[in-house]
Amino acid sequence: MKIIFQQIGIIGFIGSLAWLIQWAGMSPHMGTAEESYTYDRCLHFGDSLQWAHPEYPDHHWHGRLYWDTNAVFWIREKVSLPQKLLKEQRTIGLAVEYLASYELYWDGQLIGVNGQIGNDKSSEVEGQYLQFFPIPDSLSEEGEHVVALRSSNFHLPNKIRHFSVRLGLLTKQIKSPLIFTAFIHILAGIFLIVAIYYLVIYFVSLRELHSLFFGLLCIVFFALILAEYVKFYYWYPYSFHYTRLAIIEYLTIVFAILLLLFVLFRFEVPSKMAIAIPFIALIFLTKVNVLYPYGGHDTRLRMIAMIAFFTAFTITLWAYFDKRGGARAILLGLTPSLFIIIYYDLMLFLSFSNLVLFNLYALSKQQNRIRQQKQEALLRSLRLEGELLKKNLQPHYLMNTLTSLIEWIEKDPRGAAQFVEALATEFKILNRISGRHLIPIEQEVALCQSHLRIMTFRKGKSYRLKTAGLAEAETIPPAIIHTLIENGITHYKGPFQELIFYLSFNTNSFYKEYQLVAPLSPLNKEALKWTEGTGFKYIKARLEETYPGKWTFVSKPENGDWVSTLQIDNRDND
């Protein structure tokens, strides 16, 4: 199957892209993915300036950091400064990500302060989550150093999480993630524009829910990018950190739900509730760490995203085998997302971008299809209009009419004038109605009356139309009754002096109905052949054009007459 090759192709392409990006060192982390030069991290509760000293023996300190705190505490870490950093002869610095306020000591020297430590929440001045400290040249020697942080975190007590000290060239540490952030915001901008596009499409033209969901999905993704990367340019106070993580988590959950909704509505999956409810339950369980209790924030996000993409992929796969429109494009759009688990952040962006591209492609194909259908409908309309006009140019009708007109002119000029007037009336009415989809019933009756007058002149016999129950405000597609009457006249075999047609109308809450009774002569044995002539095709096409799927038309002999009945569904009038 061709699609498997296409999938492998997409995976290969996106995978290579991801690998390339990683290799080029463009990663949303500070410094490089090399060693962080730090080791032997330890913690102790209490407070003593002695503890800043590099020689201070800290083997009895806690190796683990994850304690609940309610007092001042110290963290010490050893840092190894390599020659290659010094080679560049640029300022060396420390990048510290830490949920606390602190004083930073380098080899016992205070080189920087983040906020102001205190004994309680009111006395502590909250510091930033991310902070950079240049190391004075005099203190930057190759070899081992000790970093000590005198800390308090009363603005986020009971948790010591997320501590990281990184050594590197100072400007590079600041600049590198900002460059990545800048590029990723280009992507964010693209998602924002695509979101607006889909929302506009929803509100202005297509009105299909899946467009709304996809637009919201793009907005959520845009917000996710902002929330993730805001830390590199807005160095927020550390207590905001968990709020930000919570925002990211909820955005991811909303993302997952929207993705599911998009797929469910895009392919009109039956019993959406049966799928949505367990899905939401699963997400919820993941969020509250029931599914995988050892997971941290990142793991939870990864699982939620995987659940979402796998479910969406499975549903799309079903839609593909069910031959639903657009399934192939979206399937290819979702394929790389199955590999999110490998490089979470990067693969998430690339996968979603891939989905967006394929969805845009599917959308434009759908719009093409709609445009084509509209064009075909227009063509059909035009063809009907043409048929209607041509009807009166048919040799049989026109030449016979002209021949009898000549006879009238030569034999009875006054009568001929009336004949011509009747002809003019018919042409005028035809001209007026041919381009319309609906005309007032009186206009149709006027058309029929003028036609019958012309036939009276031509055949020398009397033709009449009687009506009953016609309501002034009622409408009908053009020339339907006219066609039925024409049929009735041409097919009447046998002598007569007068032919009378009856048109009646009645309506109730279910339907409105027109009925034409045409006389049948006993000689009309071929009556049953009438059903599929061009006349009937025209009538059915006109009905379908104006009342798609809401009409019935029956035409058959009944009690010695030919009865044609037109029923139009009356319920739910817009």
Partner: protein
């Protein structure tokens, strides 16, 4: 009292039927002609079977095979048929089957006069190619290709049509009437014979002024003295 000729008009539009009759009376006069109008085809054919007519003026909806089937039936009879129709693009095909004339609607007196004089004065039909002769035998109608005709022998009111492969059919029309319809490659060599020129091998002259046309594929046919010169001229 001179014998009246009967002209049958088949036309379902009353006004037009009247027109045809009125104009025809103006052209031919009413004394020697008797006009019958039938509106329905089956009525018309019923009348034809029960009565002798001399000319058929037929309005046909030639817009389908039905019309042509009826035309073929009519052309097999002994009287000429003039078609009056709204479908003038079918004229050529009508001529191929052997109508004497095709009058397109709408028509004026002059055009109808042209057609009626063709009939009246036994003039040949308008210069259109005929391809078939319509023949009805034992109730079955078939078309005989003109190309297959070698020669025709008159037998009073009928004609014997001799075809290739020693086949022979009887046609209701007299030799004179057939001559009006056949192309000019068919020469009237004798009061009782029409031959297609290309079928003549050579002309034999016998002492005493007797002439014969020897056919490539058939017997020797007599050539009348008055027609010999014309035939010889055509043979060169």
């Amino acid at each position: 009292m001179t014998k009246q000729s009967t002209i049958l008009i088949v036309e379902d539009e009353g006004t037009i039927a009247e027109r045809i009759r009125r104009l025809s009376i103006g052209i031919l006069g009413s004394k020697s002609y008797h006009f019958i109008i039938k509106e329905q085809l089956d009525e018309a054919f019923y009348y034809i079977q029960k009565n002798k007519i001399d000319l058929l003026l037929l309005d046909l909806n030639l817009n389908g095979e039905d019309g042509f089937n009826i035309l073929k039936k009519a052309l097999a009879y002994d009287f000429h048929t003039i078609v009056i129709s709204a479908y003038d693009d079918q004229a050529i095909r009508a001529y191929e089957y052997g109508v004497l004339d095709f009058v397109a609607k709408p028509f004026g007196k002059d055009r109808l006069q042209l057609a009626l004089h063709r009939w009246l004065n036994q003039q040949p039909k308008a210069n259109q190619a005929i391809k078939y002769l319509s023949v009805t035998s034992k109730g079955v109608n078939r078309m005989v290709a003109i190309e297959a005709i070698i020669y025709i022998k008159g037998a009073g009111a009928y004609s014997e049509v001799f075809l290739q492969n020693n086949k022979k059919v009887l046609h209701s029309k007299s030799l004179e009437k057939l001559q009006q319809l056949l192309p000019t490659t068919f020469e009237r060599i004798h009061k009782s014979y029409i031959v297609e020129i290309k079928n003549i091998q050579r002309i034999l002259i016998y002492p005493g002024g007797r002439y014969e046309a020897e056919l490539i594929d058939g017997p020797a046919l007599p050539v009348s003295r008055s027609r010999y010169k014309g035939l010889k001229g055509r043979m060169i």
